[in-house]
């Protein structure tokens, strides 16, 4: 089991049965992953996947339905484009423009 904090959120990756589980706090984000892989590789992949699912720039805080930049349960923060793990996309999207 490994616990880590990323993008201000607490995650745990743990082998449960044959597969690996990712939890954010106590919520299960993924289950049954990477069955059959060596533990170290599966753990590393699970940590990387948690970071993909919750990229820097988006933090789940909601639902704060009164916040002006909340879409559903997602609250958009100005992305920290200098963060080493910031994910770039080829094009801007209307709902999440790249410029701050």
């Amino acid at each position: 089991m490994k616990t880590f904090t990323y993008n201000d959120m607490d995650f745990t990756v743990e082998k449960v049965g044959k597969g690996w589980e990712i939890r954010k706090g106590s919520t299960v984000v993924a289950s049954g992953l990477y069955a059959g892989l060596a533990d170290a590789e599966a753990e590393a992949k699970s940590i990387a996947l948690a970071k993909t699912i919750y990229p820097v720039g988006i933090r789940i805080i909601g639902p704060d339905v009164t916040h002006p930049v909340t879409v559903g349960d997602i609250k958009y923060y100005g992305p920290d484009v200098t963060h080493p793990n910031f994910i770039y996309w080829n094009k801007d999207s209307a709902s999440q423009p790249k410029q701050l």
Partner: protein, 264 residues
């Protein structure tokens, strides 16, 4: 295509038809990415899949966003190594007639605003486009066997009060023809595309409809009741498994009829 061992991504997988599809595919041995805009619903569905002993990830995302679309497809491939089945079930309704008349004067008292028009186009049409565009890209580049399943509606025939919704659903129903035509032209043979047009299905989306109108509609269904989401899911599973079903839209309505008994 056999479902067992395949990787599916279901947008709108946190509720209604999408949730039923997720669970149906998990029961058939697929690994599933549950994409939705509601974290609460994602968490519930992923917990259910875990309890079923299945493999799933939950990814919060808005299908109208290119960035989110890139993210949920990347996460799916990162989690499961490939992508084979995509069901674009995220959809919304915001019903209103184009014009509302004042009962006393007969003059127009209200018009459908862009606030009702645009979000429905954004989610049901642009969102579907982005999902299938980027999924196709992943499938073509990955060389994986795949199927894109779009969700139209029986209301593609044109439902008063759903000018926005019906416009998107007629477009969604057309897309498999265009997409498969393009695949044929480009020599892309590993991906099929189909669309399902559900009739009135017992999901929370119907809570947004005029309930009196819904009651009246039920009387016109040959089956005598609403379609169950699991019945839509089973139809989708059939389309996945039957390779000959391609470039078409399949209606699953329970036999919805016009007054007087002509099937819609």
């Amino acid at each position: 295509m056999e479902i067992k061992g395949k990787v599916a991504l279901v947008t709108g997988g946190g509720n209604g038809i999408g949730e039923a599809v997720v669970k149906f595919l998990v029961n058939k041995g697929a690994k599933v990415a549950v994409v939705d805009m509601s974290q609460k619903n994602i968490d519930r569905v992923v917990a259910d899949v875990k309890a079923m002993g299945g493999e799933a990830i939950g990814v919060l995302g808005n299908v109208t966003s290119e960035a989110d679309t890139a993210k949920f497809i990347k996460a799916t491939v990162e989690a499961f190594g490939q992508l084979n089945i995509v069901v674009a079930s995220a959809g919304i309704i915001k019903d209103q007639t184009m014009l509302t008349l004042d009962k006393e004067t007969g003059k127009v008292s209200r018009k459908m605003g862009l606030d009702k028009w645009q979000p429905v186009l954004d989610v049901n049409l642009t969102g579907t486009f982005l999902t299938i565009r980027d999924s196709s890209e992943a499938m073509v580049n990955g060389g994986w066997e795949g199927i894109l399943v779009l969700i139209s509606s029986i209301n593609k025939v044109g439902q008063v009060g759903q000018m926005n919704y019906s416009s998107t659903k007629v477009a969604d129903a057309l897309l498999p023809k265009i997409v498969v035509g393009e695949f044929q032209m480009r020599g892309i043979k590993n991906i099929r595309c189909v669309c399902i047009a559900p009739g009135y299905t017992a999901t929370p989306i119907l809570a947004g409809m005029n309930q009196e109108a819904l009651k009246a509609i039920c009387a016109d269904i040959h089956l005598g009741r609403l379609v169950q989401p699991e019945e839509i899911a089973s139809g989708i599973a059939h389309c996945i498994e039957n390779d000959a079903i391609n470039a078409t839209t399949l209606e699953i309505t329970g036999g919805l009829c016009y007054k007087g008994g002509i099937a819609k």
